[in-house]
């Protein structure tokens, strides 16, 4: 099973879920505002955003538990308007897992199969296959009330996967687990998705979860989709400050647009001088001002007499120790806000005294221009 699927990863350019101009209003409040999105077949897709951004609303509309006020959703080319949740080719892993407490593990997993009226052997085989996929073999007779959080999550996964849906919807499936288990499940979920080749749509507010598991991510704020891209692009080339900020730390520097052409921008900044950067696809000029961003880990401490082509100099004002890394706050003359720098502790960044002068190297590639 595993070999077969790993050799033929099903990700294609075919659209599996087509979301067109979907709006969901509650009175005057718009939970989702004119969202359009195409999720590809076999893709691990994440809807990422803070609570209340409309990601769960969108997921529930794909599942059929909520209806768009306007716009349309199609799954596998088939319009979903008026099709109730129980007749959609989607299955869901609920945030609370929703394990049936009156049934044991096996009965939970077989729940949806009962309606298909398979013969007993086939049903048993599919249940066991699903339990094996989530490493729960042998726990079939366990009562639902006797399961740990991690096990409940696996049962919920098996119960949905056994239906062989075209799309598996996951509503914050890892948020109830402790950190260690969560990280382990991230890896397992990703592996499982690649093994079964089903389109996964994950809703999460945890940026690391989205970055670690997804093929593509849609970042949402206030009912709107801000950016859809691969994890790397979302992290390295966020379209605006909001996205950049939500996906981890980012230093923002005020900049002035000096020159703009099709592919690049030339910006004037106080601390970093004049820099040329790639122009982001969705860059919308708003007057002459822009923001330049750089991630704290893309600034490197220059030791002793080392020098770099691109560097800034300043003074350490704070130092925070985090085990394998140290977080430095560095004041740069001319910059209104000090820069955050994340440095690994291999070379003794944890011993840099507060108040010491410091030079930081950076790669101009790591500088991101954002519209103000």
């Amino acid at each position: 099973m595993l070999e077969r699927v790993q050799s033929e990863r099903m990700q294609s350019d075919r659209t599996m879920i087509d979301i067109r101009d979907v709006t969901r209003s509650y009175g005057s409040f718009k939970a989702l505002d004119n969202a359009s999105l195409a999720i590809r077949e076999g893709e691990f897709f994440s809807l990422l955003g803070p609570s209340g951004c409309g990601k769960t609303t969108l997921l529930r509309m794909i599942a059929g538990f909520d209806t768009p006020t306007s716009g349309s959703i199609a799954v596998d080319g088939q319009p979903m308007d008026g099709i109730p949740a129980n007749r959609r080719p989607t299955n869901m892993v609920f945030q609370s897992y929703a394990i049936f407490p009156h049934l044991n593990v096996e009965q939970n997993v077989a729940y949806g199969l009962k309606r298909l009226k398979l013969d007993a052997g086939e049903e048993k085989r599919r249940v066991e296959e699903a339990l094996a996929q989530v490493s729960l073999t042998g726990l079939g007779k366990r009562r639902a009330t006797e399961l740990s959080g991690g096990q409940r999550q696996r049962v919920a996964l098996a119960r949905a996967l056994v239906m062989r849906p075209k799309v598996l919807l996951l509503d914050e499936p890892l948020s109830a687990l402790d950190k260690k288990l969560r990280e382990q499940m991230q890896v397992e979920l990703r592996r499982l998705q690649q093994a079964v080749g089903i389109t996964f749509v994950l809703v999460t507010h945890d940026q690391y979860e989205a970055l670690a598991m997804s093929d593509r991510i849609a970042v949402m704020f206030g009912g709107r989709i801000a950016q859809v891209a691969s994890p790397k692009e979302i992290y390295q080339r966020p379209v605006n400050r909001q996205v950049a900020d939500f996906l981890g730390g980012m230093n923002f520097v005020k900049a002035e647009i000096v020159e703009e052409n099709g592919a690049s921008l030339v910006l004037d900044t106080l601390g970093f001088g004049r820099v040329r950067t790639d122009k982001p696809k969705a860059f919308m000029r708003n007057g002459g001002a822009a923001t330049l961003g750089i991630r704290p880990e893309r600034l490197r401490v220059l030791w002793d007499n080392a020098s770099a082509k691109f560097e800034v100099a300043g003074k350490v004002v704070e130092r925070h120790y985090f085990g394998e890394i140290t977080h430095l706050i560095v004041e740069i003359p001319g910059l209104e806000k000090p820069l955050s720098v994340t440095e690994t502790n291999d070379f003794g960044a944890d011993d840099i005294p507060v108040g010491a002068p410091i030079r930081l190297a950076y790669d101009p590639e790591a500088l991101v221009a954002m519209a103000d």
């Binding site: 599942a63 538990f65 109730p84 949740a85 129980n86 007749r87 989607t90 299955n91 869901m92 609920f94 609370s96 929703a98 049936f100 407490p101 009156h102 049934l103 009965q107 729940y111 949806g112 309606r115 298909l116 119960r159 949905a160 239906m163």
Partner: protein, 305 residues
């Protein structure tokens, strides 16, 4: 602290011995229930013991012969009149509990799943009949079911029947109708409570796995509300077996139940030992029937999976 303790060792010892006792949860619990417990002991347990004792004695005109005998139980169990009355009481109470649960379930379901913001208002409305006395409510059923009653006049007015039916009042059907109405609230509340506890996500999960509304109800909501159904059935069944007022008022001679016979033994017939034996027999049979009902509902629940 230590100095004071050393200075008064006996006091400290006494304190140590007394405090754990007063602070133990069990003792506190008993203290809390003791007024009710004493009350129940005097007014419930003692009378039952008196009744049980009487059931083994014999009535000798105005005095009671205290020699042990099982004669009363022989009469209670073999005499056709008592056997029939007991059967009828069990039949009526079983029918009433079944009907009450069947009628109460949809109401409880409606309030719990579709009551929205008005749940408390609905529950409040359901308690309104309790604002009048039970006797008045039974009497009003007489008005409805009587020969010249509301139901007969209504049916005649509609041309469904040509002359009043006397099959409505003074028989066991009248008792069943009246009791079903009277006990509805007691069945609605426990069912409502257990429906409230059903996690709505479970119903969504069932829908997601392909169940339509009816199937998800039968496979998830109903099995999970069984505890409420059981308590509703028992709450109705146990008191209705021994109901005395309702058969007396609307039952006529065909609606007489065992409680009326017991009352007669303690009253007019003045045979306390026989009345006591009938009471004890009824109590035992009701307990057995209640136990059997629980087992049957549980078995049905298991079958439904």
């Amino acid at each position: 602290m230590t100095v004071a303790a050393e200075g008064s060792p006996p006091l400290r010892m006494a304190g140590a011995r007394r405090n754990p006792l007063l602070q133990s949860e069990a003792v506190q619990g008993f203290a809390l229930i003791s007024p009710t417990f004493v009350y129940a002991l005097i007014l419930l347990v003692l009378p039952i013991l008196v009744v049980i004792a009487h059931s083994f004695w014999t009535q000798n005109y105005l005095t009671i012969d205290h020699t042990f005998t099982l004669e009363n139980y022989r009469i209670a169990l073999t005499e056709p009149i008592y056997r029939d009355l007991l059967w009828r009481s069990l039949y009526i109470s079983l029918t009433v509990s079944l009907l009450t649960v069947l009628l109460a379930y949809p109401i409880a379901y409606f309030i719990s799943f579709h009551g929205g913001r008005h749940k408390s208002l609905w529950l409040f409305l359901i308690t309104i009949p309790f604002w009048t006395s039970y006797l008045l409510r039974v009497m009003s059923w007489k008005v409805i079911l009587g020969y010249n009653g509301v139901l007969n006049s209504g049916l005649m007015g509609l041309g469904i029947i040509s002359e009043p039916s006397d099959a409505l009042l003074y028989n066991s059907t009248a008792v069943i109708i009246t009791l079903t109405h009277a006990w509805a609230t007691f069945a609605i509340l426990p069912i409502f409570v257990s429906l409230e506890k059903v996690d709505r996500t479970l119903v969504e999960a069932a829908t997601d796995l392909g169940d339509g509304p009816l199937r998800s109800f039968l496979r998830v909501t109903l099995p999970l509300s069984v505890p409420g159904v059981i308590s509703a059935a028992l709450i109705v069944m146990i008191p209705t077996v021994g109901d005395y007022v309702t058969p007396k008022l609307v039952g006529g001679k065909d609606g007489v139940m065992i409680a009326n016979a017991i009352q007669a033994q303690f009253g007019k017939a003045s045979n306390w030992p026989l009345g006591a034996a009938l009471s004890v027999t009824t109590m035992i049979i009701v307990s057995l029937m209640a136990g059997a009902t629980v087992l049957v509902i549980r078995a049905l629940q298991r079958l439904a999976r």
